[in-house]
C-alpha cells in the first residue's frame, strides 16, 4: 500500500498525517513537496494535511490549490485515487474545484480549537465504513475558516446523494446545515475540517479518528 502526504509551505499537520497513515494503515508513505509536478506511482491514498499553506494569503487554500502538485492531485482524483483533505486540506480541495462550496471565516470570528462531537452521516463511503451511520464521535477541530458555505441547491444535492459524511453535533463555526465533511460525487474524495489524525490513540484523549484509516485499509486492500 502506498500513500502520499502533500506538503505546502505552512503545512503543519503533514507529519501527524504521515504517522497516522504509516502506523494504522502500514502504508509506505512519502511526503511530496508542493513544487513537484508528478506524484509517486501507484498511490492508494493522497492526503492533503492541515496547516496554513502560504500563510492563508488571499483566501485559505487559494494559493496551494494553484500550486504545481495540485494538477497531479486533481488528475489522480479524477482517475479514482482516494484523496483525503483535512482542515486546510479541505479548504484546498474546495479551492481546487474537487469539492463544491467554500470555507469561510467562522461565524463567531474566533479561531476554534477544541474537541467536538461529530455525527457520522454516511457510513457507506470508503472513508467511513468502520463507523455506524448516526454514530457520534469525538474529533478535534482547530480552524479559523471552517464555516462551510454552498448555495441551497448544492446543499440539497449533497444531502440527497449522501455526500455529507460528517455533521457537527454541536454549534462550532456556523457551517451551513452543520456540515463538517463532504464527499465528491464519485465518493473517492473526502474533505473535512476536524482532524481524525489527532485522535488515534488513548494519549490523544481518544481514538475515534482511527477507524477512518482502518476503514481505508479494507477498501483499498
Amino acid at each position: 500500500m502506498r500513500a502520499a502526504v502533500i506538503q505546502f509551505p505552512g503545512s503543519n499537520c503533514d507529519r501527524d498525517m504521515a504517522v497516522a497513515i504509516r502506523q494504522i494503515m502500514g502504508a509506505e508513505t512519502s511526503l511530496v513537496w508542493h513544487r513537484e509536478t508528478a506524484l509517486p506511482d501507484n498511490l492508494d491514498l493522497i492526503a492533503i494535511p492541515g496547516g496554513f499553506s502560504y500563510g492563508d494569503y488571499l483566501r485559505s487554500g487559494a494559493m496551494a490549490a494553484r500550486s504545481p502538485v495540485m494538477q497531479a492531485v486533481v488528475a489522480a482524483a479524477q482517475r479514482g485515487v482516494p484523496v483525503l483533505g483535512v482542515c486546510n486540506g479541505f479548504q484546498i480541495l474546495t479551492e481546487a474545484g474537487l469539492l463544491p462550496g467554500a470555507l469561510m471565516r467562522n461565524a463567531g470570528i474566533r479561531f476554534v480549537c477544541r474537541t467536538v462531537q461529530l455525527k457520522v452521516e454516511n457510513s457507506q463511503s470508503i472513508f467511513t465504513s468502520q463507523y455506524d451511520s448516526g454514530e457520534t464521535i469525538a474529533i478535534p477541530v482547530a480552524h479559523h475558516d471552517g464555516n462551510y458555505f454552498a448555495d441551497a441547491e448544492t446543499l440539497d444535492r449533497l444531502e440527497g446523494n449522501g455526500r455529507v459524511a460528517f455533521r457537527y453535533a454541536e454549534p462550532v463555526n456556523g457551517s451551513s446545515r452543520n456540515i463538517a465533511g463532504i464527499l465528491n460525487d464519485s465518493g473517492n474524495v473526502l474533505g473535512m475540517m476536524p482532524h481524525p489524525e489527532r485522535m488515534i490513540e488513548d494519549v490523544h484523549g481518544g481514538s475515534d479518528g482511527r477507524r477512518l484509516f482502518e476503514g481505508l485499509i479494507r477498501q483499498i486492500a
Partner: protein
C-alpha cells in the same frame, strides 16, 4: 499601467468580519450605520497591452472565489 480589482462577498453571503467592524464602529460612538461589508482591493501594475479578458480570467481563476465572491475591475489613471 495600474488596474484595481475589488473583490466583494456576494449578496446573501454572511460576512462575520463586516459585522465585527460594524460593532467596532458603533462602539467608537458613531451612529446611523446600517451595515458594513468587508472586501479586498488588489492593485495590479502591468503593461498597457494587458487585455480585459486576461484580467477577467485572473479574477475568476484566482483573485476571487466565484462561489462566494464577485469582482469589479477598475482601470486606474
Amino acid at each position: 499601467m495600474k488596474t484595481r480589482v475589488f473583490v466583494t462577498l456576494k449578496n446573501g453571503v454572511l460576512d462575520p468580519q463586516g459585522k465585527a467592524i460594524h460593532h467596532a464602529i458603533e462602539s467608537l460612538g458613531f451612529s446611523g450605520i446600517h451595515d458594513v461589508r468587508a472586501g479586498r482591493l488588489i492593485e495590479i501594475e502591468h503593461e498597457p497591452g494587458l487585455s480585459q479578458s486576461d484580467l477577467e480570467a485572473m479574477c475568476s481563476k484566482l483573485l476571487a472565489n466565484m462561489v462566494i465572491e464577485n469582482f469589479e475591475i477598475e482601470q486606474a489613471a
